[in-house]
């Protein structure tokens, strides 16, 4: 099977010829390719070359285009102040976000009335005084064209690009960056109606953008960030009231457009796994970062959606090659049983992952992953 066929078979819960391999790649491409992280984040061509080299050397079926290390997209899409390697941090650090709470109480009304673009017009200069919305849109447009070209080049090498668009998540996830986590959690109690009405507009706009962008770059998978809406942060009551209606809207809208939602689940989602059964069967990917019990996920959702994960970042950074091999073998034999499994890292490969450990994922897939 070709890589894209292998992925498609896995998502549709048919048995591919072997378990696909698709670790999450962003910053780690820099040290592996011998460039600084500052270069990786700012130079589109060098970023793509580093991604391509990594994906080819490790014989991956699918790779992220290091979208989460793309300064243009991060500045435009995440309403918090980014601290960058080479500027605010040592040049080989991972970027980090300073949640400065740029979005004020009254900005909920702007979002509801004028949409994401209207809110961005207000927030971007607050977060980055040197930037404006016009330039930001032009930069994003250019980044979008680069991604379209890169997807074509990647596919020409037999590697599937992972996602065509990144939705930060239901609006609550966006508000956690824009307002700060603490404020967004308090908003649930203090401004519930505003959150819901502004959130509805957010979802309408972001869904439209996701469908448009994916049609342009022809990558029919879209990332949905799920981190702060997890049971670590929210009770079932609040999840059902604030998150699920928006997730329903986003997921069904994407699937109607023939796009596969990729749920990027950070932190521990074990308690909420049953909620994912509501989404259409064999149309989604549940991607776990090692804090959710992936074996429980197989039990609850194994016959419903593909599961992707979850070699822990600490194991990749600090474990031995033997430990990584053992863990991958266990994943392949249990989560991969009968298909529906993509072997991946738990969240992004950390900057300090050992090359041997990343290669162990490949060796495990090629040794034990065949059906």
């Amino acid at each position: 099977m070709k890589a894209h066929e292998r992925i498609a078979a896995t998502v549709s819960l048919q048995c591919p010829d072997r378990v696909p391999l698709a670790p999450l790649l962003d910053h780690w491409a820099a040290p592996y390719a011998g460039i600084t992280n500052a270069v990786l984040m700012n130079d589109s061509e060098q970023r793509f070359n580093a991604v391509l080299k990594t994906a080819q050397d490790f014989r991956w079926d699918m790779t992220f285009l290091a979208d989460t290390a793309n300064v243009t997209l991060l500045k435009a899409g995440v309403p918090a102040r980014i601290k960058l390697p080479g500027i605010d941090l040592p040049e080989n650090s991972t970027h980090q976000f300073d949640e400065i709470g740029a979005m004020k109480d009254e900005d909920f009304d702007i979002l509801e009335k004028d949409g994401i673009l209207g809110l961005g017009t207000v927030l971007i200069p607050r977060i980055y005084p040197e930037m404006n919305i016009e330039q930001t849109l032009m930069d994003v447009d250019q980044a979008g064209r680069q991604i379209t070209d890169q997807a074509i080049k990647l596919r020409a090498k037999g590697i599937e690009p992972a996602v065509g668009f990144v939705i930060p998540g239901p609006s609550f996830e966006y508000f956690c960056f824009a307002r700060s986590v603490n404020k967004a959690l308090l908003d649930i109690r203090k401004h519930p109606a505003k959150m819901k009405s502004a959130g509805k507009r957010f979802c309408e706009d972001i869904l439209g953008l996701a469908i448009l962008t994916s049609s342009q770059n022809a990558i029919q998978r879209v990332f949905i960030g799920l981190s702060r809406s997890s049971p670590v942060f929210l009770t079932s009551k609040h999840f059902e009231e604030f998150i699920l209606p928006e997730l329903d809207f986003l997921v069904n809208g994407l699937i109607d457009a023939d796009i596969t939602p990729v749920f990027h689940c950070d932190t521990n989602w074990t308690k909420f796994l049953h909620y994912f059964k509501r989404f259409p069967k064999a149309r989604c990917i549940l991607e776990l970062d090692s804090f959710t019990d992936i074996f429980k996920a197989k039990e609850v959702l194994g016959d419903h959606m593909a599961i992707m994960g979850d070699v822990p970042s600490t194991l990749l950074a600090e474990g031995s090659k033997g430990e990584v091999l053992d863990y991958c073998k266990r994943l392949i034999e249990t989560i991969g049983k009968g298909g529906g499994f993509i072997l991946s890292s738990g969240c992004s490969i950390p900057l300090n992952a050992k090359v041997d450990n990343v290669m162990a994922m490949t060796e495990a897939t090629e040794k034990w992953g065949w059906y």
């Binding site: 991972t94 603490n182 308090l186 308690k271 600490t314 600090e318």
Partner: protein
């Protein structure tokens, strides 16, 4: 007042909490009774979190209510009434600016009567050493989210060892990449899986 206040607090009924406190203070009631009831309520919140009925959102909200309540009570407290149960230094290690987990631990510690010296984020190893020397704190909490910050954690623990301070100070660690194994590996004393466990560690350590 007693049961009413702790119940209202643990149910996160913010307005009711403030109303009960206002009424109690208006009749010259004992302010320490309020503080005790708030602490009881906070313990119940912690238990509900452990029982999985509350999430971090509820912990954070309880901290807000506690702060609002203490603002009302503080003017009525006498000197010595709010003597801390112990002194704890908290910080996110160098190379990591994530503060959510650290701040929740701080809120719980403060709400439970501990004095916290917050060193902030991206804290170099030498700053932990200086803070222990300057404040005489007995417990240091080190937080991290990034896997790449594990070396900073090692360095911070090592610096306290090298400075000869480990006989008088204990170290607890917490955050996404931390574990019992990492605790052993870096030579820390305690590992807290979440904020409520961190509070329990502090309480045990200070015999509270």
């Amino acid at each position: 007042m007693q049961l009413q206040l702790s119940r209202a607090f643990s149910a996160l009924e913010e307005e009711q909490v403030y109303q009960i406190i206002d009424e109690h203070l208006a009749i010259s009631g004992d302010p320490l009774l309020i503080v005790n009831e708030l602490s009881t309520g906070m313990e119940k919140v912690g238990q509900l979190f452990k029982d999985d009925e509350y999430a971090l959102g509820e912990l954070i909200y309880s901290g807000e209510i506690f702060k609002g309540a203490m603002e009302k009570v503080k003017p009525f407290l006498k000197e010595g009434d709010d003597k801390p149960l112990g002194k704890v230094i908290m910080g996110t290690v160098e190379g990591d600016i994530h503060d959510l987990g650290k701040n929740i631990v701080i809120t719980l510690l403060e709400c439970s009567g501990f004095q916290v010296i917050d060193l902030g984020v991206d804290v170099p190893a030498s700053k932990f050493v200086d803070a222990v020397r300057e404040t005489g704190a007995d417990l240091v909490g080190m937080s991290l989210l990034l896997t790449t910050a594990m070396d900073s954690l090692r360095q911070a623990v090592k610096s306290l060892n090298d400075a000869g301070l480990r006989s008088r100070v204990k170290i607890m660690i917490g955050g996404a990449p931390t574990s019992e194994r990492l605790k052993e590996d870096v030579g820390a004393d305690f590992y807290g899986r979440d904020a409520v466990e961190a509070l329990a560690i502090a309480k045990r350590f200070f015999n509270q």
